[in-house]
Protein backbone atom coordinates (compact mmCIF):
# COMPACT_ATOMS: atom_id res chain seq x y z
CA UNK A 1 0.00 0.00 0.00
CA UNK A 2 1.30 3.41 -0.89
CA UNK A 3 1.68 5.81 1.99
CA UNK A 4 -0.51 8.82 1.24
CA UNK A 5 -0.43 12.44 2.34
CA UNK A 6 -3.37 11.65 4.55
CA UNK A 7 -1.34 9.09 6.44
CA UNK A 8 0.30 10.28 9.59
CA UNK A 9 3.61 8.96 8.30
CA UNK A 10 3.95 11.36 5.39
CA UNK A 11 2.47 14.30 7.27
CA UNK A 12 4.98 13.87 10.09
CA UNK A 13 7.79 13.42 7.55
CA UNK A 14 6.84 16.77 6.03
CA UNK A 15 6.50 18.44 9.43
CA UNK A 16 9.93 17.25 10.51
CA UNK A 17 11.96 17.83 7.35
CA UNK A 18 10.27 20.58 5.33
CA UNK A 19 12.15 23.44 7.02
CA UNK A 20 15.71 22.21 6.24
CA UNK A 21 14.69 21.28 2.69
CA UNK A 22 13.04 24.66 2.15
CA UNK A 23 16.05 26.45 3.63
CA UNK A 24 18.46 24.60 1.33
CA UNK A 25 16.31 25.47 -1.69
CA UNK A 26 15.89 29.07 -0.57
CA UNK A 27 19.56 29.81 -0.09
CA UNK A 28 20.78 27.62 -2.95
CA UNK A 29 18.38 29.08 -5.50
CA UNK A 30 18.21 32.54 -3.94
CA UNK A 31 14.54 33.02 -4.77
CA UNK A 32 11.67 32.45 -2.28
CA UNK A 33 9.13 31.55 -4.98
CA UNK A 34 11.47 29.07 -6.62
CA UNK A 35 12.23 27.64 -3.18
CA UNK A 36 8.52 27.10 -2.51
CA UNK A 37 8.10 25.37 -5.87
CA UNK A 38 11.20 23.26 -5.28
CA UNK A 39 10.06 22.20 -1.79
CA UNK A 40 6.69 21.19 -3.21
CA UNK A 41 8.32 19.23 -6.03
CA UNK A 42 10.85 17.53 -3.75
CA UNK A 43 8.19 16.29 -1.33
CA UNK A 44 5.92 15.24 -4.17
CA UNK A 45 8.76 13.15 -5.59
CA UNK A 46 9.36 11.71 -2.14
CA UNK A 47 5.64 10.96 -1.82
CA UNK A 48 5.69 9.08 -5.13
CA UNK A 49 8.84 7.16 -4.24
CA UNK A 50 8.31 6.54 -0.56
CA UNK A 51 7.96 2.81 -1.20
CA UNK A 52 11.42 2.88 -2.84
CA UNK A 53 13.09 4.25 0.28
CA UNK A 54 15.22 1.39 1.47
CA UNK A 55 16.38 2.81 4.75
CA UNK A 56 20.08 2.57 3.85
CA UNK A 57 20.46 6.27 4.62
CA UNK A 58 18.44 8.44 6.96
CA UNK A 59 15.22 9.84 5.57
CA UNK A 60 16.72 13.36 5.92
CA UNK A 61 19.67 12.36 3.72
CA UNK A 62 17.33 10.78 1.19
CA UNK A 63 15.26 13.97 1.00
CA UNK A 64 18.42 16.06 0.67
CA UNK A 65 19.53 13.90 -2.24
CA UNK A 66 16.26 14.55 -4.07
CA UNK A 67 16.47 18.27 -3.20
CA UNK A 68 20.09 18.66 -4.34
CA UNK A 69 19.40 16.95 -7.67
CA UNK A 70 16.32 19.09 -8.17
CA UNK A 71 18.07 22.38 -7.35
CA UNK A 72 21.14 21.53 -9.40
CA UNK A 73 18.94 20.68 -12.40
CA UNK A 74 17.15 24.00 -12.03
CA UNK A 75 20.45 25.87 -11.83
CA UNK A 76 21.83 23.94 -14.78
CA UNK A 77 18.90 24.86 -16.99
CA UNK A 78 19.17 28.46 -15.79
CA UNK A 79 22.91 28.55 -16.53
CA UNK A 80 22.28 27.12 -19.96
CA UNK A 81 19.88 29.93 -20.74
CA UNK A 82 22.04 32.70 -19.33
CA UNK A 83 25.62 33.76 -19.76
CA UNK A 84 27.23 33.18 -16.40
CA UNK A 85 30.67 34.42 -15.47
CA UNK A 86 31.06 31.89 -12.64
CA UNK A 87 32.37 32.43 -9.14
CA UNK A 88 36.00 32.45 -8.31
CA UNK A 89 36.15 31.34 -4.68
CA UNK A 90 39.91 31.75 -4.53
CA UNK A 91 39.51 35.52 -4.81
CA UNK A 92 37.70 35.52 -1.48
CA UNK A 93 39.87 32.86 0.12
CA UNK A 94 43.00 34.88 -0.65
CA UNK A 95 41.42 38.17 0.32
CA UNK A 96 40.42 37.03 3.82
CA UNK A 97 42.22 38.99 6.47
CA UNK A 98 40.84 37.66 9.75
CA UNK A 99 39.74 34.09 9.19
CA UNK A 100 39.16 33.23 12.84
CA UNK A 101 37.49 36.46 13.84
CA UNK A 102 33.78 36.16 14.55
CA UNK A 103 31.13 37.32 12.13
CA UNK A 104 29.54 40.39 13.69
CA UNK A 105 26.03 41.35 12.85
CA UNK A 106 24.71 44.66 14.07
CA UNK A 107 21.38 44.54 12.34
CA UNK A 108 19.56 41.23 12.05
CA UNK A 109 16.78 42.80 9.97
CA UNK A 110 18.72 42.59 6.73
CA UNK A 111 20.72 39.55 7.69
CA UNK A 112 18.94 37.29 5.20
CA UNK A 113 19.84 39.59 2.33
CA UNK A 114 23.48 39.73 3.41
CA UNK A 115 23.67 35.95 3.70
CA UNK A 116 22.08 35.53 0.30
CA UNK A 117 24.46 38.02 -1.31
CA UNK A 118 27.39 36.20 0.25
CA UNK A 119 26.23 32.75 -0.84
CA UNK A 120 25.44 33.99 -4.35
CA UNK A 121 29.03 35.12 -4.69
CA UNK A 122 30.37 31.64 -3.92
CA UNK A 123 30.54 28.66 -6.24
CA UNK A 124 27.69 26.13 -6.23
CA UNK A 125 30.00 23.63 -4.56
CA UNK A 126 30.96 25.87 -1.62
CA UNK A 127 27.39 27.10 -1.26
CA UNK A 128 26.05 23.56 -1.08
CA UNK A 129 28.68 22.39 1.40
CA UNK A 130 28.03 25.31 3.74
CA UNK A 131 24.28 24.78 3.61
CA UNK A 132 24.62 21.07 4.34
CA UNK A 133 27.03 21.49 7.23
CA UNK A 134 24.68 24.05 8.75
CA UNK A 135 22.28 21.17 9.36
CA UNK A 136 23.50 19.66 12.60
CA UNK A 137 21.69 16.41 11.89
CA UNK A 138 24.10 15.61 9.05
CA UNK A 139 27.49 14.03 9.73
CA UNK A 140 30.57 14.74 7.60
CA UNK A 141 30.21 11.21 6.22
CA UNK A 142 26.63 11.87 5.16
CA UNK A 143 27.62 15.19 3.56
CA UNK A 144 30.47 13.43 1.76
CA UNK A 145 28.06 10.81 0.43
CA UNK A 146 25.63 13.50 -0.70
CA UNK A 147 28.25 15.41 -2.67
CA UNK A 148 30.06 12.28 -3.87
CA UNK A 149 33.41 13.05 -2.26
CA UNK A 150 35.53 11.69 0.57
CA UNK A 151 35.11 13.00 4.11
CA UNK A 152 38.65 14.40 4.03
CA UNK A 153 37.97 16.27 0.80
CA UNK A 154 34.77 17.67 2.30
CA UNK A 155 36.62 18.84 5.45
CA UNK A 156 39.27 20.60 3.36
CA UNK A 157 36.76 22.25 1.08
CA UNK A 158 34.60 23.32 4.00
CA UNK A 159 37.58 25.03 5.59
CA UNK A 160 38.11 27.01 2.40
CA UNK A 161 34.38 27.62 1.96
CA UNK A 162 34.13 29.11 5.49
CA UNK A 163 37.07 31.41 4.75
CA UNK A 164 35.53 32.51 1.48
CA UNK A 165 32.18 33.08 3.17
CA UNK A 166 33.70 35.18 5.98
CA UNK A 167 35.68 37.31 3.54
CA UNK A 168 32.68 37.93 1.32
CA UNK A 169 30.29 38.48 4.23
CA UNK A 170 32.42 41.33 5.58
CA UNK A 171 32.05 43.10 2.25
CA UNK A 172 28.25 43.02 2.35
CA UNK A 173 27.95 45.56 5.19
Amino acid sequence: MQAGWETAEFASLYAEHSRPIFYLALRFLGDPQKAEDATHDVFLKAFRRLDQFRGEASIRTWLYRIAINHCQNLCQSWHNRNIHAGSDDTVFEDAVARTDSPLRVLETKELGQRIQKTLDALSDEYRLLLLLVADEELSYEEIAALVGQSSDAVRGKLHRARKAFAARFEKTV
Binding site: M1, Q2, E36, T39, H40, L103
Partner: protein, 72 residues
Protein backbone atom coordinates in the same frame (compact mmCIF):
# COMPACT_ATOMS: atom_id res chain seq x y z
CA UNK B 1 -3.19 59.23 33.26
CA UNK B 2 0.18 59.41 34.96
CA UNK B 3 0.09 55.67 35.50
CA UNK B 4 -0.67 55.14 31.80
CA UNK B 5 2.34 57.23 30.79
CA UNK B 6 4.53 55.25 33.17
CA UNK B 7 3.24 52.00 31.72
CA UNK B 8 3.88 53.03 28.14
CA UNK B 9 7.39 54.19 29.06
CA UNK B 10 8.04 50.80 30.59
CA UNK B 11 6.71 49.05 27.49
CA UNK B 12 8.90 51.23 25.29
CA UNK B 13 11.90 50.39 27.43
CA UNK B 14 11.22 46.65 27.15
CA UNK B 15 10.73 46.93 23.39
CA UNK B 16 13.99 48.86 23.11
CA UNK B 17 15.84 46.23 25.12
CA UNK B 18 14.41 43.49 22.93
CA UNK B 19 15.43 45.33 19.76
CA UNK B 20 18.96 45.82 21.08
CA UNK B 21 19.34 42.17 22.04
CA UNK B 22 18.05 41.16 18.60
CA UNK B 23 20.23 43.67 16.82
CA UNK B 24 23.78 42.92 17.93
CA UNK B 25 24.86 39.34 17.37
CA UNK B 26 28.14 37.58 16.94
CA UNK B 27 28.68 34.26 15.19
CA UNK B 28 31.87 32.30 15.50
CA UNK B 29 31.71 31.03 11.92
CA UNK B 30 29.56 30.62 8.83
CA UNK B 31 27.97 27.41 10.17
CA UNK B 32 26.64 29.18 13.22
CA UNK B 33 25.38 32.11 11.19
CA UNK B 34 23.59 29.85 8.72
CA UNK B 35 22.06 27.80 11.56
CA UNK B 36 20.66 30.98 13.03
CA UNK B 37 19.34 32.00 9.62
CA UNK B 38 17.78 28.56 9.08
CA UNK B 39 16.08 28.71 12.48
CA UNK B 40 14.52 32.05 11.53
CA UNK B 41 13.18 30.64 8.28
CA UNK B 42 9.68 29.22 8.13
CA UNK B 43 8.12 27.28 5.32
CA UNK B 44 5.13 29.16 3.88
CA UNK B 45 1.94 27.20 4.70
CA UNK B 46 0.90 27.39 1.03
CA UNK B 47 3.50 24.73 0.23
CA UNK B 48 1.75 22.14 2.41
CA UNK B 49 -1.61 23.08 0.88
CA UNK B 50 -0.31 22.69 -2.66
CA UNK B 51 1.35 19.43 -1.77
CA UNK B 52 -1.87 18.04 -0.32
CA UNK B 53 -3.71 18.92 -3.54
CA UNK B 54 -1.00 17.45 -5.74
CA UNK B 55 -0.77 14.27 -3.69
CA UNK B 56 -4.54 13.81 -3.87
CA UNK B 57 -4.30 13.66 -7.68
CA UNK B 58 -1.83 10.81 -7.68
CA UNK B 59 -3.66 7.53 -8.26
CA UNK B 60 -2.75 4.61 -6.00
CA UNK B 61 -0.25 2.25 -7.63
CA UNK B 62 -1.75 -0.69 -9.58
CA UNK B 63 -1.89 -3.94 -7.70
CA UNK B 64 0.84 -6.32 -8.65
CA UNK B 65 -0.17 -9.44 -10.61
CA UNK B 66 0.48 -11.77 -7.67
CA UNK B 67 -1.63 -9.52 -5.51
CA UNK B 68 -4.53 -9.84 -7.93
CA UNK B 69 -4.03 -13.55 -8.14
CA UNK B 70 -3.64 -14.31 -4.49
CA UNK B 71 -5.56 -11.40 -3.05
CA UNK B 72 -2.43 -9.88 -1.46
Amino acid sequence: MKQQTKLSQKQEHIAEQQTQSQAAKEFSNADELLRFDAAQTTVPPEVAQRLKQSAAQIPPPPRKWWGKMFGG
